[in-house]
Symmetry: C2
Subunit: 335 residues, 2 copies
C-alpha cells in the first residue's frame, strides 16, 4: 500500500511532515509517496529513500493557508494538494494525507475524485478523543457551512459507516448536536433533521447537547459544518490553554518527588493531556468522495502526521469508501 | 436595593440558593426577597430574617426544568419565576435572579417586563472567564435558536453596552463568532451579519473563530443562540471533565510536599480551575427586556448564587437597562 503525503502543507512543513512520514513507513510497513518540491525533499530524505519504500513526487506549486481555495486550486494545477489527489485518482496511491489548506483539499478532492453517488455534500469527520469511555466522531466538522436537513442525514450515514468499519463500533449510536435534549429543541435545521433521522434505520439516539462531545452519549455526533467547526476550535482552544499554562506537562514531568508525581498522574490528568493534544491526534477523514483523504491538523508535528497516515491506512484496510458506495447503491435501489 | 431570588430553581434549590442569598445580603449589604414556598423557606431562614434585610414572598407553584416553558408559565401564574419577575415589574425588587428553567425565565420576562423598544429579540449574555487577559461576553448564548442578521446586530449593541457599563471595558471590541477569520467566511447568516456590523459605529473587529472564546481577541462575541448554547456547553463539558478527574483539585490541595504544590499552582492551573468552574461564575444576564434579570447556572451552589446576586447588583448600579433604552431611543430618532 502506498500513501501519498502532502509535504508542503501545515505549519511545520516540510520538516515535521517528512519526519512523520518516515516514522509511518517504518511503523506500518507501508510505502509513502512524498508530494512536494523535489529539491527540498531530496536533502531531507536522501538517506531514507533507499532504506524505506519511499518515493518523491515533484510538485512545483504550493497552496498557502490564506489563499482562497477555489482560486488557488484552479490556478495551481501542480500544487502538492492537487497532485496528491491525482495520485489517488489514478490508483498510484491508496490514500492522501494533507495538513494544508482544508478548503483546497476539499475542493481538489471534489474536482479530482468526485462525489460518491447519492452523497450531495462530502463532509469532514473528526475524531474527538476527550471522552474517557470512547472516541466520538463529529461530522461535519467544517466542510459545509450551509446545510439542509437531508445533507445531515447523509452525514449521519457516512459517520455511522466510518464508526463501524474504521473505529470498530458494532452498532454506532448516532446523535444530533442540539441545544436541548428533547425532540423539538434547536433551530429549524435541527428540528427537521431530527424528524428525518427518526425515520432512518440508523441507531438514532436523539439530541446530544454540547457537553456530549466530551462526555459521550453517542458514537457519531451529526452537525452542520459551521457549528462543527466552531465547537471543535473552541474545545481545541481550551485544551490548548490548559496545555500551555506555563507548560503544565513539563512541570509534572520534572516533579522532584516521585510520590507527588504519581499522585498527579493517578488523577488521569496525564491521560487527558494526551487526549486533548492535537499533536497526538490522527486527523480527520473526508467522507463522501471517491477515495480516501485524511485532513491532518494544520499544526501537526511528526507524531500527528504519523498518526494521520495510520488513520489513512486503517481507512484503506477497512475499504470504508467501497462500503459507502455499496450502501448508497442499495439505498438507491430500495427507493 | 432589594433583589428577588428564585429559591425553587436549580438543582440545589432551595438549600444552596438560600445559603447564597444570605451570603449576598451580608457581603453586598442589600435586601433580598426570597421567592418560593413560604413553609419551606421559614424553616431554613428563620434566624436570618430578623438580622438581615430579608423577606419571603410566597410562591406556591414551581416550574420544573423539564417542563415546556410557555405551557408552564401560562398554567402556573403563581410560580416562583413569574412572581419574581412581577416583583421587578411592580418596582418591589430591582432585579431578579433565577437558576430555574431558562426558557420559563425568558418567557416570563417577555410577558411580565416586555422588550425594550427597538430590540426585537432579547438575548442571553454569558460571561466566559477562561481567557487569561479578560473575560469575554458571549451573546446570544441560548435565547434565540433561529436568528436573522439584524437580530445579531442588536445583540452586538446590547453586548457592547453591557461590556462597557457593567464589565468596565472602555471601548469593547465586538467580534462575530465564525468559522474563519476573513470576511466572507461562514454560513449565510454570518456573512450577512458581517456586512451589517461593518456599517455600525460599533468597534467591530471582524470574525472570531472558536478558540477566540478562550484566547480572547474580542470583548463581546456575537452569535446566534443555537451556536452559543452548543459552544458554551461544550466548553463547560471539557472544563467539567478536567475538574472531575478523580478530583484533581483535591489531590493538589493535599499534596504533601509544599514544593511540588507550589510548582503546580505556579503553572496557573489553580487559577484556570477557578475560571472554568461554573460554581464560581456569576451567571448570565438577559438583555433587551425592561428590567434586570440574571440567569444563574442550573447547577449553581451557594457561591455561584451569591455571585449571581452580585452581578445583579452591578447591573442595577450601572443602570444598564436604562442606558440601553436611551440608546435605542437615540437610534430610533436618528433613523
Amino acid at each position: 500500500m502506498i500513501i501519498a503525503v502532502d509535504t508542503a502543507g501545515g505549519e511545520y512543513a516540510p520538516h515535521e511532515v517528512v519526519k512523520g512520514a518516515v516514522k509511518a513507513a517504518q511503523d506500518y510497513n507501508i510505502g509513502i509517496a512524498l508530494v512536494g518540491r523535489k529539491d527540498l525533499l531530496h536533502v531531507q530524505t536522501g538517506r531514507y529513500l533507499k532504506k524505506l519504500d519511499m518515493t518523491i513526487v515533484d510538485a512545483t506549486q504550493t497552496i498557502e493557508d490564506d489563499e482562497s481555495p477555489i482560486e488557488a486550486v484552479n490556478n495551481k494545477p501542480d500544487s502538492s494538494i492537487m497532485m496528491g489527489i491525482n495520485l489517488v485518482k489514478t490508483g498510484k496511491a491508496a490514500a492522501f494525507v494533507s495538513a494544508g489548506n482544508t478548503g483546497a483539499v476539499l475542493y481538489s478532492a471534489l474536482l479530482g475524485l468526485g462525489r460518491i453517488k447519492g452523497i450531495e455534500r462530502p463532509a469532514i469527520a473528526s475524531i474527538i478523543n476527550i471522552s474517557i469511555t470512547a472516541p466520538v466522531l463529529l461530522i461535519d466538522s467544517g466542510a459545509n457551512a450551509n446545510c439542509r436537513p437531508k445533507y445531515l442525514v447523509q452525514f449521519a450515514r457516512l459517520g455511522a459507516i466510518y464508526s463501524r468499519e474504521v473505529l470498530g463500533v458494532p452498532s454506532p449510536r448516532v446523535g444530533l448536536l442540539n441545544s436541548g435534549e428533547e425532540e423539538g429543541k434547536g433551530n429549524r435545521l435541527m428540528q427537521e433533521t431530527y424528524t428525518l433521522l427518526k425515520e432512518t434505520d440508523l441507531n438514532f439516539v436523539g439530541n446530544i447537547e454540547g457537553h456530549g462531545l466530551v462526555r459521550g452519549g453517542a458514537d457519531v455526533i451529526v452537525t452542520d459544518g459551521f457549528t462543527g467547526n466552531i465547537v471543535l476550535k473552541a474545545l481545541e482552544g481550551l485544551g490548548d490553554t490548559f496545555l500551555k499554562l506555563r507548560n503544565v506537562g513539563q512541570v509534572f514531568a520534572n516533579a522532584r518527588h516521585m510520590q507527588s508525581r504519581h499522585q498527579l498522574f493517578d488523577t488521569g490528568l496525564g491521560s487527558l493531556v494526551r487526549r486533548i493534544d492535537y499533536r497526538e491526534s490522527g486527523g480527520a477523514c473526508l467522507l463522501g468522495v471517491n477515495g480516501d483523504v485524511i485532513i491532518a491538523h494544520g499544526r501537526s508535528q511528526a507524531k500527528a502526521i504519523r498518526n494521520a497516515i495510520g488513520l489513512a491506512k486503517q481507512s484503506v484496510d477497512s475499504a470504508v469508501c467501497q462500503i459507502i458506495k455499496d450502501q448508497q447503491s442499495q439505498l438507491a435501489a430500495s427507493e
